[in-house]
């Protein structure tokens, strides 16, 4: 029986056109819960080819998205992470209705929480910790903000865990999918956790953004929330935007609209459980305050 090759991952449709059989098997296994028989016309088409044998050049894999070559990893263990990144990179072209931020996003009680930040600040680990406490997962790397409604939408790609967080994922009962490890360039070894294999109702719904929290990991630090002004938040989010010039609505309008409805903080993260306690208390307090004012 052939592997499925159409996937609807939240609002994102992916079709795996041509790929080495092993990659098709691993990708299909990772995204099995999202397999669909009804491909959308508006989608991201992935093909992975191999360069021909040559006496002078090393053979490479070629990761192409919608016909364009994006990456050429040399080892198979780097291909899946590059496919993941390439699909995400293509979203700004394939889905211009979304403003795309470099941020992890989760949903709790209909409230969207956005954790923007560069690679290495602890977005994915924080996502694992909060997800483990029943928060609903939207994405570990990208906030897809609808440019009109300003709601954050789910793009529940597999959570990419870097080697230092492997043990944390295991301890939270979230083993790496298939026990496989990959190699993601400068990030080194990574593995993937499929949220739906942890909890069947893991994926959040589109919702308004109520909190923007910029995490920064500091070893052994006391977790601390520091309020940020909305103007500073909008300015920092502008820096974290992938398609600030490609979205059909100007970035400054989207961002100022977004922060007007949100509380904004800088977060020093340390111990994961203490950090999650702090964030949960913040969100719970806000929820109770909203209920009181309603």
């Amino acid at each position: 029986m052939s592997e499925p090759n159409h996937f609807q991952i939240g609002v994102v449709h992916v079709t795996l056109d041509t790929a080495p059989r092993r990659l098709t098997r691993e990708y299909s296994s990772l995204y099995a819960p999202f397999a669909t028989l009804n491909p959308s016309h508006k989608k991201v088409r992935v093909s992975v080819l191999r360069t021909p044998w040559s006496a002078r050049k090393r053979r490479r894999f070629q990761v192409c998205i919608n016909g364009r070559l994006l990456y050429s990893p040399t080892h198979f263990c780097s291909v899946l992470p590059h496919v993941e990144w390439a699909v995400s990179w293509e979203l700004q072209h394939a889905y211009p209705r979304f403003f795309q931020l470099h941020a992890a996003t989760l949903e709790i009680d209909g409230m969207g929480v956005v954790f923007p930040g560069q690679s290495g600040v602890g977005k994915s680990t924080l996502s694992l910790g909060l997800f483990n406490r029943g928060w609903n997962y939207l994405c570990d790397e990208f906030a897809l903000i609808d440019a009109e409604t300003l709601e954050v939408h789910p793009y529940p790609r597999a959570i990419c865990v870097k080697e230092p967080s492997f043990a944390i994922a295991e301890s939270l009962g979230m083993p790496l999918h298939g026990g496989r490890r990959y190699w993601k360039g400068v990030k080194g070894p990574v593995g993937f956790v499929q949220p739906l294999s942890v909890r069947s109702n893991a994926i959040g719904r589109a919702c308004p953004v109520r909190f923007v929290i910029f995490p920064q990991y500091q070893e052994k630090a006391e977790p601390t929330l520091i309020p940020m002004s909305r103007a500073e938040t909008a300015f920092q989010l502008h820096e974290a935007a992938f398609n600030r010039f490609a979205c059909h609505r100007p970035a400054h309008e989207i961002l100022t609209g977004l922060v007007r409805g949100a509380e904004c903080f800088r977060l020093i993260t340390g111990d994961l459980q203490q950090t999650c306690d702090l964030i949960q208390n913040l969100v719970r307090f806000n929820g109770e305050r909203c209920a009181r004012s309603a």
Partner: protein, 78 residues
């Protein structure tokens, strides 16, 4: 120039350069006083009325902020 006022601060978008600028509370205060009529000294007096600073400190701050505005193309000189 598109100015989004957010609480006491602002985000300014300059469509000519596609740059975005953030004004903090005091920079926003100075920005609001830039009407082409008031001098730097006038603005400094207003700042020292509102914030707990001397007129000299305020004037130093106003000059610095206006220089910054000017370098970023946010002001026209009359």
């Amino acid at each position: 120039m598109v100015v989004h006022v957010l609480d006491d601060e602002a985000l300014i978008y300059d469509p000519r350069t596609a740059d975005t600028h953030r004004l903090n509370e005091t920079a926003m205060f100075v920005w609001k006083q830039c009407d082409g009529v008031q001098t730097n000294d006038d603005i400094a007096v207003r700042i020292s009325d509102v914030y707990d600073v001397t007129q000299n400190e305020a004037l130093e701050h106003v000059n610095r902020v206006l220089d910054e505005f000017s370098q970023r193309g946010l002001l026209e000189k009359f």
